[in-house]
């Protein structure tokens, strides 16, 4: 037994690493020659800049930015990045870098995208046509001017604190996800309501949590678990 364990297969080790923040997974490069390249097989990337915040100087922050760059680029270009989680609480975070990272992981077939910021960025339109997405969690983004949206595989969509230029954009987002099972929509702002959008039913919806926005009940008609915190008059 001891022998079998000391030789845990690469796939099992990278599976364990996939549950760790990327900065911790990278510490395993020092364990041994075999382990040195193992973390690169790990299909998930997870970053949180709060580790760098206590003395949030520019230099410290640029190290965080650099580490995300290196982690993404050190993966082989044909390797799928299954999951990308990025939490930035610093105001030093800039939109150019964020867009580049998001575009790269979208190209690498990301299935699970979880983005949370303090600053408000415009969501890169590549996310909206990312057909591989199964889980999409967005916190603080502006969503505007997109030409198409397609989420054929999407099952979980959690939207928080988003600003939509037009109400119809939100409706289009929902309509593009026919397989959605779990919807959270909290604190969404719609600048313009000029076009009266038509909501479609979400046939597979199981769980929905709606707060402080107006959504047609048509969308929610299939939900088995529904929580509505506050609905505007319509």
């Amino acid at each position: 037994m001891a022998d079998r364990i000391s030789a845990l297969p690469d796939a099992l080790i990278s599976h364990i690493l996939s549950f760790l923040p990327t900065s911790v997974a990278i510490t395993t490069t020092v364990l041994s020659k075999r382990w040195n390249s193992l973390w690169c097989l790990c299909p998930t990337l997870s970053f949180d800049d709060s580790h760098y915040l206590p003395d949030a100087h520019d230099r410290n922050y640029s190290r965080f930015v650099q580490s995300v760059h290196i982690a993404i680029l050190s993966r082989h270009c044909h390797q799928t990045i299954q999951s990308f989680r990025l939490k930035c609480r610093s105001l030093l975070c800039d939109s150019t870098n964020v867009s580049v990272w998001i575009n790269v992981v979208v190209q690498r077939g990301v299935q699970h995208l979880d983005l949370s910021f303090v600053k408000m960025f415009t969501l890169p339109s590549s996310v909206l046509t990312c057909k591989t997405l199964v889980v999409l969690k967005l916190n603080r983004f502006i969503i505007k001017n997109f030409s198409s949206v397609d989420f054929p595989m999407l099952k979980i969509m959690h939207l928080r604190d988003l600003t939509f230029l037009e109400h119809r954009h939100f409706v289009e987002l929902l309509s593009a996800a026919p397989n959605l099972e779990d919807l959270e929509a909290v604190d969404l702002i719609f600048f313009c309501r000029a076009v009266q959008p038509r909501f479609k039913t979400l046939p597979k919806l199981d769980r929905a949590m709606i707060a402080k926005i107006d959504v047609s009940l048509v969308v929610l008609s299939n939900a088995k678990f529904l929580r509505v915190d506050w609905v505007m008059n319509k």
Binding site: I16, F19, L20, T27, L31
Partner: protein, 158 residues
């Protein structure tokens, strides 16, 4: 074995069906079919072959002790407190077995538990945990630490 309420309707057809599993140390264990169904490797065999459940299904890579732990974990719906009583070896044995038996929920549960255990632990602790022999020279190791200096800042000494 006790049935939970939700399983009663199913049990009407299946009575309390059990499958006999034969572990690597030669122990025959009767296991409730709802638990066996989480083991894809056994499930796919049973479903295809409509097998005689009294003939033991061999699990040459799983010991009776490990199988006991797995059955308890599944019965307790993956209870964190119960798992915290596991030794490091038991954790790894259950991990390897979950992978072999193709039990996805258990595999993710135990991999997460190991990840949580290793987070913030020193390099030496992790080497011990996985029985890793450090084959780097001190110079090589120092070089790697230097390249990724930013990740080695706040690790426990143990």
């Amino acid at each position: 074995m006790q049935k939970t309420e939700g399983e009663e309707s199913k049990a009407e057809n299946e009575e309390v069906k059990q499958v006999t599993l034969m572990t690597s140390d030669g122990v025959k264990m009767k296991v409730e079919i709802s638990i066996v169904y989480e083991m894809e490797i056994v499930r796919s065999f049973i479903e295809v072959n409509d097998a005689d459940h009294s003939v033991p299904f061999p699990l040459p890579n799983v010991s009776s002790h490990t199988l006991d732990l797995i059955i308890e974990l599944v019965k307790n719906e993956y209870d964190d407190e119960f798992m915290k009583t596991f030794s490091h070896d038991e954790l790894k044995e259950v991990l390897v077995a979950a992978n072999y038996l193709n039990m996805k929920t258990l595999l993710d549960f135990i991999a997460t538990a190991i990840a949580n255990l290793l987070e913030k632990k020193s390099v030496e602790f992790i080497r011990n945990f996985f029985n890793i022999v450090n084959d780097f020279t001190p110079e090589e190791e120092a070089e790697i630490r230097k390249t990724n200096e930013w990740v080695f800042q706040d690790l426990d000494e143990d």
